[in-house]
């Protein structure tokens, strides 16, 4: 419908503007003219380094992570038919961070650059599979969220254990970075290795879109109108596992963006899960880039972590959505 298309176009333009803005702002402000010149390859060597090595990779990383988490959140909410479902709340992010921490702790990352994304994605998939199996057995979404809380706590405990046993302060601070979540000092390489997983996850989730709409009628109603429920579940799980895992391998654990953004988008697309997917991804990308600009430009002695800022904004929003949650107990 035109409604969704206009929204998508608008958000695409806004995305480009936000990325451009991320190149403008920072410790040394660059004027738009210098940024444009540099983007088209005619900048001074200094500007080229600032934009192509520092700001652009960081902004793109934030955008990719945001889009991945926003899309995962929207898809999980459609699958579980609950506005509170999100990779962070369901423990998927924490498990992915555990996978990444594990790989870092045992120095597995030195074997290949693919180890980190694969480890994070494995963690994410394990959590999504547990949630999905639970979703078949228990009908109550509250139980599911409690299982997510349990998964989160358990992953956090294991990460604490790894930190407890950390051989040296450097390993410790490395792991702490993953737990807090940040896109500082990301290069295009980090994106390159997460890229294929992001792309596959993105395509898979977009392919499940009509099935998510069908699930508006509940699982039995959706099967009644011809949805292959098993396949739908498996695809959403694999898609969100890939996206969340890849996002965590770039930025560590960043929560709540996947819950807030679809919540904003849904009323604009008449509460249709299918049409909320793409706009949620775009808006979450924009949101995370903006939050990262905030992190970079707020004067503070040591740089704020993006994950911390998102949690500070996101946790109260989560409580607010839960308190209004009409659909929580269906």
């Amino acid at each position: 419908m035109t409604l969704g298309r206009h929204l998508t176009t608008f958000l695409l333009i806004a995305s480009l503007l936000t990325l451009f803005m991320a190149c403008l702002l920072g410790a040394t402000p660059l004027g738009p003219d210098r940024v444009v010149q540099t983007l088209f390859g005619a900048g001074t060597p200094g500007d080229t380094v600032v934009i192509w090595q520092i700001r652009m990779p960081r902004a793109l990383a934030a955008y990719a992570v945001g889009a991945a988490l926003g899309l995962s959140g929207a898809a999980l909410q459609g699958l579980l038919r609950n506005p509170l479902a999100e990779p962070g709340v369901l423990g998927v992010t924490a498990s992915a961070a555990l996978g990444a921490t594990f790989a870092l702790y045992y120095g597995l990352v030195s074997f290949s650059a693919w180890v980190l994304p694969v480890a994070a994605i494995s963690g994410a998939l394990i959590a999504t599979i547990i949630i999905a199996i639970a979703a078949i057995k228990v009908q109550s979404v509250i139980t599911l969220i409690l299982i997510g809380v349990g998964l989160s706590s358990f992953s956090a405990a294991l990460m604490s254990l790894l930190m407890n046993l950390a051989p040296n302060p450097f390993a410790l601070s490395d792991m702490l970075n993953w737990m807090l979540g940040s896109v500082a000092n990301r290069s295009l390489d980090d994106l390159y290795f997460a890229g294929p997983f992001l792309a596959i996850g993105f395509v898979i989730l977009l392919a499940t879109r009509d099935g998510l709409s069908a699930l508006t009628l509940g699982e039995e109603g959706a099967s009644g109108i011809g949805l292959d429920l098993r396949r739908q579940r498996i695809f959403v799980i694999i898609g969100t596992g890939l996206l969340t895992g890849a996002a965590v391998s770039i930025a560590g654990a960043i929560g709540f963006i996947g819950i807030i953004v679809p919540h904003i988008i849904r009323p604009m697309v008449r509460h249709d899960p299918a049409r909320s997917l793409l706009p949620s991804a775009l808006l979450a990308g924009i949101g995370l880039v903006l939050a990262d600009i905030l992190v970079r430009t707020v004067p503070s002695t040591s740089e704020l972590k993006l994950g911390v800022v998102m949690a500070l904004i996101g946790a109260p929003a989560f409580v607010w959505i839960a308190m209004r949650g009409r659909t929580l107990d269906d």
Binding site: M1, G4, R81, N82, R209, D210, S213, A214, L215, T216, L217, G218, E220, G221, S223, G224, I225, G226, L227, D228, R266, R270, H271, D272, P273, A274, R275, R326, T327, D330
Partner: protein, 254 residues
């Protein structure tokens, strides 16, 4: 002409037998009503014959083809199934819910063919939803919501409709309205199998009554022959008087 035939269906869980050797058929042009007390296995039977539940033994064929050989979408193009509980996860618009009825035809909101549009408009008109089509479903009354769900199953343009208590919790007027819609659907060539708890309503509308108790079918035939005092006592455990097509239930037997 479409015919759904179930032969010797049994559904067994670990401890209990939900369906015991049940054979039943539904075809175009007839309105069959399934009657039975709570827990008789009516919903299990509907789920089994629509292919949503795999029976422990026995088989279901749709126009002589085994139903499990059809993909979920192909099956849903032939049979519309209206489950007993009809939750709506989101506060969707009426028109969007009716559009979901076209899912089996590969259609989605925003990408509708002319056929889809015609089917949706016809369903909305048949169910008298024209003025409500842009309303959010969470603002509708129970009767209006029941019409929305009927409309979405009609929009699928299937040759069979299987409905599990479509008039539950509706006031008498709306019960008649919904049954009129289903009767009209049958008059236009469809075939329907409907679970009802109101015997009088069943006797008024049904071409055939199918009586179920404890996982088995105890009688299957037109109201004239199967609606008897004895049948009411055996199936529901109630004392009843039957005058013409009017059933008066005097009370429980024990």
């Amino acid at each position: 002409m479409t015919k759904l035939v179930a032969s010797n269906l049994s559904v067994q869980t670990k401890k209990t037998c939900l369906l015991d050797d049940v054979s039943i058929s539904v075809q175009s042009g007839e309105l069959a009503v399934l009657l039975g007390p709570n827990g008789a296995g009516k919903t299990t039977l509907l789920r089994a014959i629509t292919g949503l539940l795999k029976p422990s033994s026995g088989g279901v064929t749709l126009d002589t083809r085994p139903i499990d050989a059809l993909s979920p979408k192909r099956r849903a193009q032939k049979i519309a199934y209206l489950p007993q509980t009809r939750p709506l996860a989101w506060p969707s618009r009426v028109i969007d819910v009716v559009t979901l009825g076209r899912f089996a035809h590969g259609s989605a909101i925003g990408s509708l063919s002319d056929d889809d549009q015609v089917a949706i408009n016809a369903a909305i008109q048949a169910c008298d939803l024209t003025t409500l089509q842009h309303r959010r479903c969470d603002t509708l009354s129970g009767g209006e919501l029941a019409r929305v769900h009927c409309a979405r199953s009609f929009a699928a343009q299937t040759s069979l409709l299987i409905a599990d208590e479509p008039v539950a919790a509706l006031d008498p007027k709306h019960q008649f309205k919904i049954m009129d819609l289903i009767k009209n659907y049958v008059a236009n060539g469809g075939g329907a199998l409907v679970v009802l708890h109101d015997i009088r309503l069943a006797a008024t509308y049904a071409d055939r009554l199918i009586w179920m108790k404890a996982g088995s079918i105890t009688a299957d035939g037109p109201p004239d022959t199967t609606l008897t005092v004895q049948q009411m006592a055996d199936t529901f455990g109630v004392k009843a008087r039957i005058e013409n097509q009017n059933v008066i239930i005097a009370g429980s037997i024990d």
